[in-house]
Structure formats: C-alpha cells, structure tokens
C-alpha cells in the first residue's frame, strides 16, 4: 500500500495515535478480563477440568460439554453473572453430576480444558463435600444418613461414624467425608433433606487445609528413634484397701438402661 501522499510524519503520527488508542482501551479491557478471570474460585467445573488458571485459559466457551451432558447438569455462565462468562459450571443443589462412566462432557471438549487424562469418572475432583455439622440432621441425633446412602461411592467417599451423644447413651451416626475419594458430584447436596443443604460441594482449594512439612507425626514414621524409645518402667501402686464391687449382671448386658454412667 504505497500511498505517495503519506509522509513519514503522517505515518508516525497515525501509528502513535493508533497505539495510544489501543493502549488506553487495552488497559480497560485488560482490567475487565482480569476481574472476570479472578471471579472463578467458587465455580464448580465439569469432570476433568484443569486447574483454575489453565481452565480459564483453555476453555473456548463452545458449550459442547453442555450439549453432551445427558442430565442437563452443565450450564454456560451468561454475561453479567458472578462467574466468568461463557464457561460451563453446575449447581448440585439444582442438578448434580451423575458421574456418567463414559464421561461424555469430557469427550466433547475440543481443547482439553476438560482433560482427557481423566479415564475413570471416580477420579474426578469437581469439588469436595463439606458438612455443616451445626445443621446436619445426623449431627442433631436423627438417623438421617441420606447423604451416605445416596453417595455413589457409599462407604468410601462418605462413611458413617459413631459419635457420643450428650443427652443419652445412644450414639449418633454421623457422616464423614473422605477427601481422597469424594468426586464432588453433589448427589449428596441434592439429596440433603434440610431446607438449606447441610452438606455442600465447594472447590477443594477453598476448604482444605494443609499440614505442611514441618510437623512430624512421629508415630507414623518408622525410625530408629521411636524404636529405641523405652518407656519408663510403670509405677506399681500399692494395692487398694477398698474391695472391688462385684457386678450384678454380666458386663455390658444392660448398662444402657441401668441409670448410672
């Protein structure tokens, strides 16, 4: 495009003006994009989603995962929401992920934002179930345990543990989530019968702590020191003069209803 009327001055001037406009607009634009991309941490992504930063970069916002989901679990965020625009997410209280074994959403992803390295749906880590023990029916002492029974990895992702109860001798059976197994599918959150779900899926990074390297759990480490450790010899107390009471029933027979303890 050799235009003879274009002088060097014109050219430099035009280039500078264009650059100025691009930089001014670019700063505003960049700010918008950064704000949007930092709004990400609360979003629950489909199975196989890369870490937040990589997912934000590689998701091309095509919605093919949404098309592929047979349960209408996945939605694309619209503009103006509190989640970054145009990317797939799901709200388990509305529709959880039902853990299709063939992972159609991941297979539909053209860019690898939903990583094809996910071979087994049970290895998905979409989030982590967290229990609000103040509002959990099981922790109130009711035999609810719905989350435990509905969990597709029952007994592994959510186990039932006994817990002593203050008002009676009956133990409580309370659900306990195991982060190394929980997929974050949200079926528990969907099933929870309380008015607001007492078990919820959150991105693990928001709720999980980390012990750090500097705490040494000595009893888990098989070292010279612990093996050489000899406890001090037990102090034998002089025999008590009080006679030991003889139980009237066999031990454990009826202690729950005996009134003492």
């Amino acid at each position: 495009m050799a235009d003879p009327t274009l002088t060097r001055r014109d050219f430099l001037e035009k280039a500078a003006q264009g650059t100025a406009m691009a930089v001014t607009g670019g700063l505003l634009w960049g700010y918008l994009v950064l704000q949007e991309s930092r709004a990400a941490p609360f979003a629950l992504r489909p199975p196989g989603a890369l870490a937040v930063q990589d997912f934000n970069a590689t998701c091309i916002k095509c919605g093919k995962c949404v098309n592929a989901c047979p349960y209408d679990t996945l939605k694309l965020t619209s503009a103006g929401g509190d989640l970054p625009i145009g990317m797939p997410y799901f709200e388990p209280r509305k529709i959880p992920c039902y853990l299709c074994p063939d992972i159609p959403c991941m297979k539909a992803c053209p860019t690898g934002a939903l990583s094809p390295e996910l071979k087994n749906i049970n290895d998905a880590r979409m989030g982590l179930a967290v229990i609000d023990i103040e509002n959990c029916l099981s922790w109130k002492g009711l035999r609810c345990e719905i989350c435990h029974r509905e969990c597709p990895l029952k007994g592994k992702a959510i186990s039932l543990e006994t817990h002593p109860r203050n008002i009676s001798k009956h133990a409580m059976f309370v659900p306990l989530v195991h982060s190394n197994v929980c997929t974050g599918c949200g079926i528990c959150e969907k099933a929870c019968p309380t008015a607001e779900a007492a078990i919820r899926i959150l991105p693990p990074a928001l709720v999980q702590g980390k012990i750090g390297e500097h705490y040494r759990l000595g009893w888990t480490i098989d070292t010279q020191i612990t093996q050489d450790f000899k406890p001090a010899p037990a102090v034998t107390l002089p025999p008590s003069s009080q006679p030991v009471p003889v139980p009237t029933t066999a031990p454990g027979m009826d202690y729950l209803n005996s009134g003492d303890l």
């Binding site: 091309i60 625009i85 860019t111």
Partner: protein, 311 residues
C-alpha cells in the same frame, strides 16, 4: 485512458442510477438476492446450533447435527470446527490445544481462505444482523456523523487482543466478545449479553457508521488479513462501469471500492471486503461480479494483451 467528455460521463452514470431506480418489483428483489441469501444462511446456522441444543436435532444413530457454537463446534458428529482466532489467542496464553481443535481451526481457515476471510462477517456472524439493522436505520434516519475513527483501528485492537492474551493468561477477546456472547446467549439462554449488543446497536446507529464491524471488531480484522489471500473475489470490469457509485452507496466497507485500485487490479483487492455481494447484485451495468482470483488474473492479462494490440 482516453479523456472523455465529462458531461457524457455524468449522463452515463445518471442513466445507470435511473436503471436501478426503475427496476420492477421482481428486479428489485433480484438485486437483493445475496442479501436475502445471507440472512437465510445467518439465521440457518443459528437455527442448526439451536435445534441441536434444544430440540435434539440429530441424524440416525443419535448423531447430533451441529453441537457447540461459533467458537468450536462439531458437524454431524465428525467434522470439527474451531474459530482460528480463538485458537490463536489460547495458543499465545501458552496452552497447546488438542489435535481436534487444531484440525478444526485449520479446516475453518482453509474454508475462508477459499471463500474470502470476511465471508464469516457477512454470512455467518450473528452480530452482523444487529449492525446491518443499525446501518440501515441510520441511513433511513439520515443521522449525520459526529465522530470519526480510522478503519485501521481494528488492526490495533487485534494486536491488543493478542498482547492482552499473553499478559492476562486468558483469551482476551473471547472473554469480552459480543460475537461469542450473542451466539452463546441465543443458543444457551439469555443473559446480560443483550445489553452489549444494544450498546453496539446504539454505537453504530448514533455515533459511528459501521462502527463495530468496520472499525473495532478484532475478529473482523483477523478475517480481513486472511481475506487478502482469499480466492473468491469481486471482479471489476472497467469497460462497462459508468461510475454511478451505487455500489459504494450500499457497501459497508466503501474504501475497498476505491476506483483507482479497482481499475489497476480488476478486482476488489482489500481483505476488508466481506464478499457480502450487495454491490454485485445491485450494479446496474453488471460490472461487479464474484469470480475466482486466478480466473480474474488470467482475464486481466488477456484484456491487457488485447488492449496493447489495439493501440
């Protein structure tokens, strides 16, 4: 070029314009043929996406017809298509795409290299529906210009999109793109993206003629660059042209119809031409028509050869 009487030149041009205005109803409709066809293609593509997403349009054996959207899609379950500009932005953030997406980008690029880069803008992009409406209304209401921006601004916006993708680590245009917004929200449900389109509509209508598509859109700029190498071009026949200027009046990018350049090259060279076909269907003398670049070249060489023989 031989000098002609300026009065007769003007009379010829006026005669051409009159020819256009005296068209019968069917003739007028025929002169809109590409416009009608473009609207059908634009809406048809939207409908294919929408039908697949909402009404489960599929071929036998449960093959969905057209899944995804303009960013990336799969046609009849096998043909991958990816927006090459989106792929480029993702690539510069430092992320490699899967082969499927890369193949799709290559396919789409090849398609537009054949048919003309900005064929996307005129025939596919849904925002074109909005901006064409604004442009038409602006003409109707005879709204005068209050602002001027250089049309080359879009290339600076394109460069900014790529620089920002590197700096922010996300595909910068895809995160604000009204094109993507409109398409997603039509296919996957409405949100506030309609406001962005309203802004574009008002900007085009009241502030700057062809403001978004012709000055700012970096996707259009990307396809303009591709368009320079495209094979389908608008051929220009200078022997029949009467300089009536009707083509430039309907052209959304009238700078591509620069007469001097047209006469030199015998075709519209600029990639900013969107091959919308308005001028070709409208030209009262048939001086403008779609043709293949190699054919135009051969034609031109032949014409020049015979021209030198004649003189």
């Amino acid at each position: 070029m031989s000098e002609r009487d300026p009065l007769s030149v003007r009379a010829e041009a006026l005669a051409s314009t009159r020819k256009l205005h005296e068209l019968s109803v069917t003739g007028r409709l025929w002169s809109w043929r590409y416009l009608v066809l473009r609207r059908l293609v634009q809406v048809g593509i939207l409908l294919l996406f929408f039908g697949t997403a909402h009404w489960a349009w599929e071929l036998p054996k449960k093959t969905p017809l057209l899944t995804g959207n303009l960013s990336a899609s799969t046609f009849v379950g096998v043909v991958p298509m990816t927006d090459p500009f989106a792929a480029l932005q993702i690539f510069v953030t430092g992320h490699m795409l899967q082969t499927d997406a890369l193949l799709g980008a290559a396919l789409v690029l090849a398609f537009y290299l054949l048919l003309g880069g900005r064929v996307f803008c005129a025939w596919v992009c849904p925002v074109n529906l909005v901006t064409d409406l604004a442009g038409w209304l602006r003409n109707r209401l005879a709204i005068r210009a209050i602002a001027h921006l250089p049309r080359s601004l879009r290339y600076f916006v394109l460069a900014t999109a790529l620089v920002l993708s590197v700096v922010t680590g996300v595909a910068a245009f895809e995160w604000v793109s009204p094109v993507g917004m409109m398409h997603r929200e039509i296919i996957f449900g409405l949100g506030f993206g309609a406001l962005a389109l309203l802004a574009i509509f008002l900007f085009d209508l009241l502030l700057l003629k062809h403001g978004w598509c012709g000055h700012l859109c970096p996707l259009g700029a990307f396809w303009s660059l591709v368009g320079y190498a495209a094979q389908v071009k608008v051929r220009f026949d200078k022997s029949t042209c009467t300089h009536c200027g009707e083509c430039a009046r309907v052209c959304p990018e009238p700078q591509v119809l620069n007469l001097k350049k047209l006469e030199e090259a015998g075709q519209v060279v600029s990639g900013e031409c969107s091959n919308c076909g308005r001028c070709t269907a409208l030209c009262p003398e048939g001086s403008l028509a779609f043709d293949l670049k190699p054919l135009i070249r051969a034609h031109l060489r032949q014409a020049q050869g015979s021209g030198t023989r004649d003189s």
